[in-house]
């Protein structure tokens, strides 16, 4: 089985936010929720870099560890998914997540959290593949159609890579060799400890 990973090449990302928009459109995510965001560092200064970030589908996922109702599970592909039928909207996964991936609609008492929503690696959820229920709760299940996440598929500079971790890191290594430098596989040290160091 492949181990699915995201990789954002900070030397290529041009902060167009198309990944954010494509994700919202593909999954019809409700108002106020963005499963992916683009962060710009040193904005307007020398060394400006942009990074697109969402759930990294960590190997030892902190969200999975702290969830009080144990609603997370990891697919054989290494994708971290959650069951919205079990989620109680406590927010603990957001406290634990290093990447700020979990998002919440303001649905609870006094504007507190509703059920958590996050990037699914376009792999849906525990409901039946391609069912209306699954689409409503988790968005489109592209993985079941044999497709990779939409954000990486349509990235204009191919800064955002998604897919089998070995293939992704090979592509990135070729790039680093070709241009003579690289900014490290950003976030990999935390999400996939032991695989590649930054």
């Amino acid at each position: 089985m492949a181990r699915m990973k995201f990789l954002c090449d900070a030397e290529r990302c041009i902060e167009c936010n198309a990944c954010v928009t494509a994700c919202k459109n593909e999954h019809e995510v409700p108002w106020g929720i963005n499963r992916r965001r683009v962060v710009t560092l040193s904005d307007g200064k020398p060394g400006e870099r942009s990074i697109s970030v969402a759930c990294m589908h960590c190997s030892d996922a902190p969200c999975m560890a702290v969830c009080p109702v144990d609603c997370f599970y990891q697919t054989p592909d290494g994708v971290v998914l959650h069951n919205k039928d079990l989620c109680i909207g406590c927010g603990y996964c957001f406290f634990a997540c290093p990447f700020g991936a979990p998002q919440y609609p303001q649905a609870g008492n006094f504007g507190s959290r509703g059920k958590m929503d996050k990037c699914t690696f376009c792999a849906g959820g525990p409901d039946a593949d391609h069912s209306a229920e699954e689409f409503k709760k988790y968005g489109r299940n592209r993985m079941a159609e044999g497709k990779l996440p939409i954000c990486a598929e349509m990235c204009s500079t191919k800064a955002l890579l998604a897919g089998d971790g070995n293939i992704v890191s090979n592509i990135y290594r070729e790039r680093v060799v070709g241009r003579g430098f690289g900014s490290g596989a950003w976030g990999w040290g935390r999400a996939y400890p032991g695989s590649v160091s930054n």
Binding site: P46, A96, G100
Partner: protein
């Protein structure tokens, strides 16, 4: 007319261009004695990150350096490093030990009951009672007790449910419990603050520490045997009162922070709040177990003070002798000679025959 103006304009522009270029030519040329200070020439493309080195740039990010983002509630923060700490504290300390602490307290109480048994009135019931807690005191106490039990149960379900409950009843059923517990906990939380303030206001007189409390500690509170004098509240009751007041205040503050997450955008504050809230609450629940034990099956005649508000005269003499003397003005037989503890009278109590 038009032609004159056009010629004049062209002439004027030409004059401007000439003057500007001559001035620029002069200012750009370095003076003869100038020294070139710049020595670091950019070689290749490796240092595109500006003044920082590659490793420092990415190291800072891992330590929680922020950028800018136009989307997402998490904003420009790429990695929040303290989340891992929070996870470890919660999993490895709070959840692990809170279960053991509560279990240990229960075991100690059971053992204590088996060894020491119910603390009986030595003189039996006299049939005469003395007023100990007024109706507002009792109402405030039970109001707090109701809220405390509901909050304690729902909180423990959320804290320990995944470890203790989910394996027994299954994830799906446990999720129903957890959902109900969280909604109930959030609903009753603010009422705890109301109950806390009300109870503090009514119970604070007489709960300040005095010299007699030191003697009470030295005698082990009379739990092991012997007699320890006490005023209206003994040392144990005073510690319980202040534990509720101070820890209750901490729980209230952290609870407000957690219930209204939009009040503060500071994630670290929320993380610390969950830890303080859980430790404080488990401590209070452990204390409350002891309180409930000694108030019900642990001691004969103690529960009367919170049900009818009137306690047996013999109970007052045996457990709160100084208070009894203060109220009635007569010496109790159990009172040790030479002790001069002073208890504060907090209300107009009187002996009532039944």
């Amino acid at each position: 007319m038009m032609l004159h103006r056009l010629i004049a304009a062209i002439f004027f522009i030409a004059l401007m261009l000439v003057s500007v270029t001559t001035i620029n030519a002069q200012s750009v040329r370095p003076p003869g004695n100038a020294v070139n200070q710049s020595t670091d020439e950019q070689i290749g493309t490796s240092n595109t990150l500006g003044p920082d080195s590659q490793s420092k740039y990415w190291h800072d990010l891992r330590q929680g350096k922020s950028g800018l983002s136009t989307t997402g509630r998490s904003g420009g923060l790429l990695i929040q490093a303290q989340g891992e700490q929070w996870r470890l504290i919660r999993k490895n300390y709070i959840i692990k030990y809170s279960g053991w602490v509560l279990a240990a307290v229960l075991v100690i109480l059971v053992l204590f009951f088996l060894i020491r048994g119910k603390i009986r009135l030595k003189g039996g019931r006299s049939g005469q009672t003395i007023s100990r807690f007024s109706l507002p005191h009792r109402t405030a106490h039970w109001f707090m007790a109701s809220i405390f039990i509901m909050l304690g149960l729902s909180g423990l379900i959320l804290l320990l449910g995944r470890t203790a409950l989910a394996p027994l009843i299954g994830k799906n059923v446990y999720s129903i419990f957890a959902s109900a517990a969280m909604q109930g906990h959030n609903l009753f939380g603010p009422l705890f603050i109301v109950a806390l303030v009300w109870m503090y206001y009514l119970f604070v007189p007489g709960n300040f520490f005095k010299m007699v409390d030191l003697k009470w500690i030295l005698k082990g509170g009379g739990l092991i045997g012997g007699h320890a004098s006490a005023g209206h509240y003994n040392f144990g009751e005073k510690v319980w009162f202040w534990a509720v007041a101070i820890v209750g205040l901490l729980i209230s503050i952290t609870g407000i922070i957690l219930e209204f997450p939009w009040l503060s955008a500071n994630l670290q504050l929320l993380q610390i709040s969950t830890i303080v809230h859980a430790i404080g609450a488990v401590g209070l629940i452990a204390f409350a177990l002891g309180h409930i034990y000694i108030g019900t099956i642990g001691m004969e005649g103690a529960l009367d003070s919170m049900t009818t508000g009137d306690v047996d005269v013999n109970w007052a003499k045996e457990h709160h002798d100084l208070w009894y003397e203060e109220v009635t003005g007569e010496k109790s037989a159990t009172h040790d000679q030479g002790e001069t503890g002073h208890a504060q009278v907090y209300s107009q109590d009187k002996i009532t025959g039944v």
